[in-house]
Symmetry: C2
Subunit: 253 residues, 2 copies
């Protein structure tokens, strides 16, 4: 990956993924969407609802990556502590956001905008809002940290709003080929040579076990579609030279 | 969670999860299984196949958690670098493991145990093997670091072998109740009070959006089943006091 592309880190905040209660659905969605924007996801951390852990982790990764995205912990309940932790990480007050607070107050019936819901309109001072079509409660941005909901359909709505506003890099191009009945141990040496000739390409080897048969998929990724194409052409020839049938693309599920 | 229970960190090593090519299936499996052993998973990191990142991350987390589990990067191809990185993290040579190497040599037909496959029998000096029923190539343990395959069915087979050999703590007990048509913002204040009365219990609030209807699930987790039970009994009464019907357990998918 060229150094000039921006980088991203995702913090999945919440005990529910760590306890196994919830199957995470946000990592893959954001990984794919960020790749399309040329913002490769370089790290994901899943961390619990513990204030000091959130504060320390945010401060560590926001210094390290171009973009930090967080999901989870911005609802109205006692275990939703992401917002105040972001304020603490930036050393700013956590206070009613003038726009968000007024918008939420107007959206609820009189008396329904209670203390718990007011927490969702309370943000680090200086936060910029991240709108979404699913909920009146917005996410927010503080410098390079983008704070989003954990519920996948709300998070996705927030990210859709956000995507055209992010400064991306060169799109990550991907080309792949697969073969049935080909053990990784047979193709490994040839792959090492090909990878050596394409230092700008990430060439990945992924064995699969499918009802239709076992085999291996080779994936070339990089900002140059031409390089990814040329790399996979060499892998395709390698597969043929090993007496297997190269099949373009990924195998069907 | 009582401090006396051991803790765990999972490192998911590999570009395929970060690129979105692969939907991770290992986090939830290990989260659930470790919870059953009384070894709460406290952090997950997904990191790329970059040697220095792997070495630094392993050294950081092995000092911080009772157990570290890694998945991915122990196959025969050029992008499988976990094993040598673990050796580097521990400052020991990476060399043929006498038992693993001999076992693999015997399993392959003469001439098939090539250089790429020999890498899978090469380990940090002093590694203890983690067997599995799926593959002749074992995982391994170095002190508190357990190195497993990334392919879910191989990883699961390794963990099954490993589980009875891990020193666990008190099992994490879980009780839950849900209600339809109950916004989190309505129940939040009552939950805060209940959480305050059960400091040893993690009380989580999870909104759901299902074809059968929207609502919220409340989950109490802790090492005391009696406390979890009592906490959820209070939540159940709270739901009823808000005019909704409390339903024990999690809502159907």
């Amino acid at each position: 990956m060229p150094a000039k592309n921006p980088t991203a880190c995702l913090l999945v905040i919440g005990n529910e993924v760590l306890s196994g209660r919830t199957q995470d659905a946000n990592i893959r969605f954001l990984a794919v969407k960020l790749g399309e924007l040329g913002i490769p996801l370089r790290e994901v951390r899943v961390i619990p609802d513990i204030a000091q852990t959130i504060v320390d982790t945010v401060n560590e990764v926001r210094a390290k990556y171009t973009y930090v995205f967080t999901t989870g912990g911005i609802g109205p309940t006692h275990d939703d502590i992401t917002s105040e932790c972001i304020a603490a990480a930036f050393g700013v007050p956590w206070e009613p956001h003038p726009v968000a607070f007024a918008r939420m107050e107007a959206a609820y019936k009189p008396g329904d905008f209670n203390a718990a819901r007011q927490r969702m309109g309370t943000m680090p001072r200086g936060a910029a809002l991240i709108d979404n079509a699913m909920s009146v409660a917005p996410g927010f941005q503080m410098e390079n940290v983008y704070v989003m909901a954990g519920v996948p359909r709300v998070m996705q709505s927030m990210f859709e709003w956000l995507a055209p506003r992010l400064e991306g890099g060169q799109k990550i191009e991907s080309r792949s080929v697969h073969a049935f009945g080909l053990p990784e141990g047979i193709i490994a040496a040839g792959l090492t040579e090909i990878q050596g000739r394409y230092p700008e390409i990430d060439l990945g080897s992924y064995p699969f076990y499918r009802p239709t048969g076992n085999g291996v998929t080779l994936v070339a990724k990089g900002t140059s579609g031409a390089d990814a194409e040329a790399c996979i052409a060499e892998v395709t020839a390698l597969i043929a030279s090993l007496g297997r049938t190269p099949i373009p693309g990924e195998p069907a599920e």
